[in-house]
């Protein structure tokens, strides 16, 4: 792999970003098993504890779907379709298996399309519930234990509680480091640009957790040594909200206008890194609670507060905090077409974030750069509007 030395963290991230999966391919060649997963719901702690490399799968926004449509309907989430298309075309031929967490219909309903078409040696559908009450936590623990058993059977090695506890520690540390890197975006101008950050986020989800932590530390050291640039007082500070945005195309569209992307609420970004797993006597308990109760994703139904305003705070309160802490001037809500979980909350998010002080531009688009020009016009017009 690329040596992570002082001063080359960003270069390493860039390489892992442009050659996505290259580290997994190397490790596979050296005998490690590689398990792909979709969405922020992939329990990486358990995979790390099992001694396999978890890699979050991404698509390629610049690549047209050419083979996947023969197996999967076009009414499926464009992101899921794109990743599936890459998998069918062999871009992920280093995978020993996959875990599909039950996030949404587009994943749940295509489980068999994936598993039967790809025919990987290991396959698991992790049946994550949509609600968070006590019976759901108990159930989540059960299905995590089933998952652990299948991994043990696949690797032929027991996954001890100690190994899980150690993995929890390693991933918590990784999240803490990433949050520290996010802190460097609070200054004006931010020490790290939005597209640099995206490359780090993408790189980080494709390599072993210790390497990911080393990468983040190297990037942090590098950008801290930068000479602070003069702030452009006119440049707007933008937050990007959405699910899996894993390419710099949209971010470059924002930053090429002179705006700063300073924060995100993306499933590849802060959604992944803001919540730790509590160290619990039964380590599975902490993992169940983190993925079910702490993660802020639209497929987890939250509604225990007595008032609607209270419920909105439960669901979106973190975004209000981001607006204040990162001094956000405007937010872009970027949703993929055919996405029921996000699509149904657009009016609620929009009005909530706007009440928090940041005007919102809502964009619905494909997972593809084919429509980038028109997206760019909207972004530019939005920035001209809030100028």
């Amino acid at each position: 792999m690329t040596d992570i030395r002082d001063g080359n963290g960003l270069a390493a991230a860039e390489k892992l970003y442009t050659q996505y999966g290259s580290r997994a391919r190397e490790l596979k060649a050296s005998g490690k098993k590689v398990i792909g997963y979709l969405s922020a719901l992939g329990p990486v702690e358990i995979m790390t504890a099992a001694g396999v490399l978890p890699i979050r799968l991404k698509g390629n926004v610049s690549e047209a779907i050419s083979k996947g449509d023969a197996y999967m309907e076009t009414i499926v989430c464009p992101f899921v379709r794109n990743v599936f298309d890459l998998a069918v075309k062999g871009k992920y031929d280093f995978l020993d298996g996959m875990v599909l967490p039950h996030q949404c219909d587009s994943i749940d309903r295509t489980n068999e399309t994936w598993s039967y078409t790809l025919g990987l040696p290991y396959w698991h559908f992790l049946n994550v519930p949509h609600v968070t009450d006590d019976p759901s936590i108990a159930f989540m623990k059960e299905i995590l234990r089933i998952f652990i058993k299948t991994l043990e059977k696949f690797t032929g090695k027991a996954i001890t509680d100690q190994a899980i506890a150690d993995a929890v520690k390693a991933h918590n540390n990784n999240r803490k480091l990433m949050r520290e890197l996010y802190d460097l975006r609070k200054s004006n101008p931010p020490l790290i640009s939005g597209s640099e950050m995206m490359k780090v986020l993408v790189a980080a989800m494709s390599i072993p957790v210790e390497e990911s932590s080393a990468l983040i530390e190297a990037v942090m050291k590098e950008v801290k040594e930068r000479k602070p640039a003069a702030a452009n007082p006119k440049a707007k500070r933008i937050m990007l909200i959405g699910d899996q945005i894993d390419d710099v195309a949209v971010i470059e569209a924002i930053e090429s206008t002179g705006a700063y992307l300073v924060m995100d609420d993306l499933s590849t970004g802060s959604k992944m890194y803001w919540q730790d797993v509590d160290a619990t006597a039964d380590p599975v308990q902490g993992i169940a609670e983190r993925y079910l109760r702490k993660l802020k994703i639209p497929t987890t139904f939250v509604g225990s507060a007595d008032t609607y305003q209270g419920i909105l705070e439960e669901r979106f309160g973190h975004m209000k905090k981001y607006v204040n802490e990162f001094k956000v001037d405007g937010a872009i809500l970027f949703i993929y077409k055919y996405c029921d979980p996000y699509g149904f909350e657009v009016p609620a998010i929009k009005s909530y974030v706007e009440a928090a002080g940041a005007p919102v531009l809502y964009l619905e688009d494909e997972y593809s750069t084919s429509s980038l020009a028109r997206v760019k016009t909207r972004i530019e017009a939005f920035l001209e509007m809030i100028a």
């Binding site: 016009t377 017009a381 001209e384 509007m385």
Partner: protein, 279 residues
């Protein structure tokens, strides 16, 4: 005298406005496949008409979807901002703009001459000029006539499909079964107006409302929109040039701001290239 130019490269039409303290010249020509050459050509023609040289221009702003393909422009600004600016200068009472272009349609909410909110549809042809063009073509009626013909309809023939491909098939089969062309055209205009209305409605529409773009030149479409909005709509004298006019006005503002700060604006290094009309 300072002269400011606005160049609006739309999907089907390219528009140029040159102004001083008044509009010196405005010009409209079709957009071809090669934006760069075309921008040069239309600009040259406009300069000739105004008896000016390129060097006389103080600041040039490009807008429209081809705005990045105007090498000699000093600045690019989106058509949303420029439309609002241009329209506000012509019709200051307007709070909502409905722009129906060749490949897209949009709604802009204006407060105090500034963009307050906007919506755009460019994902499907329905609700744009392209849709009308396709239907006019399959009915064999010249595009510029369809609006007037639609007003002679006995009744509006409801068109159930808003998808262009489906609608075209539906129209042809209805025509074959004896539905008068006027009724079908009324139905088509109604369908486009419905799409545009549902798009613009997202803006919390306030009067006065103006229509711009190629769609504003179609009386049938304007009438259909009026019935959806439930009020009369304003149409500027030349509804195609509001974007280019706004771009020129933006250039004027930018220049004035620089001057007020005692600075000179940075200009594009590119000049007008020689363009030939014969190729």
């Amino acid at each position: 005298m300072d002269y400011f130019a606005g160049v609006d490269i739309g999907s089907t039409m390219t528009k140029v406005v040159i102004m001083s303290d008044r509009i010196e010249v405005s010009l409209i020509g079709p957009t071809g496949p090669e934006h760069r050459k075309l921008a040069n050509r239309v600009m040259e023609e406009a300069l000739n008409k105004a008896r000016l040289t390129f060097e006389d221009l103080t600041y040039i702003v490009a807008t429209g979807y081809g705005r990045i393909n105007v090498p000699f422009a000093d600045r690019q600004i989106t058509e949303i901002t420029c439309h609002a600016k241009g329209l506000h200068s012509l019709l200051p009472s307007v709070k909502t703009v409905v722009d129906i272009g060749g490949q897209d349609s949009k709604g802009i909410k204006i407060v105090n001459g500034k963009v307050m909110n906007f919506v755009m549809n460019d994902k499907c042809a329905a609700g744009t000029g392209r849709f009308l063009e396709i239907i006019a073509d399959s009915l064999g009626v010249p595009l510029e006539k369809i609006g007037e013909i639609s007003l002679t309809a006995q009744k509006i023939a409801a068109v159930s499909s808003t998808c262009t491909v489906f609608a075209e098939q539906e129209i042809i089969s209805r025509l074959a079964s004896g539905e008068p062309i006027a009724n079908l055209l009324a139905g088509i205009h109604d369908a486009v107006a419905t799409r545009v209305y549902s798009l613009v409605k997202k803006l919390n529409v306030e009067a006065d409302i103006a229509v711009t773009g190629g769609g504003a030149k179609n009386i049938g479409l304007v009438k259909a929109l009026e019935s959806k909005f439930g009020q009369a709509l304003l149409v500027p004298p030349e509804p195609l040039i509001t974007g280019a006019l706004g771009a020129a006005l933006m250039g004027k503002d930018i220049f004035a701001k620089y001057m007020a700060e005692g600075q000179k604006p940075t200009r594009s290094v590119n000049k007008l290239e020689e363009a030939t009309f014969f190729e």
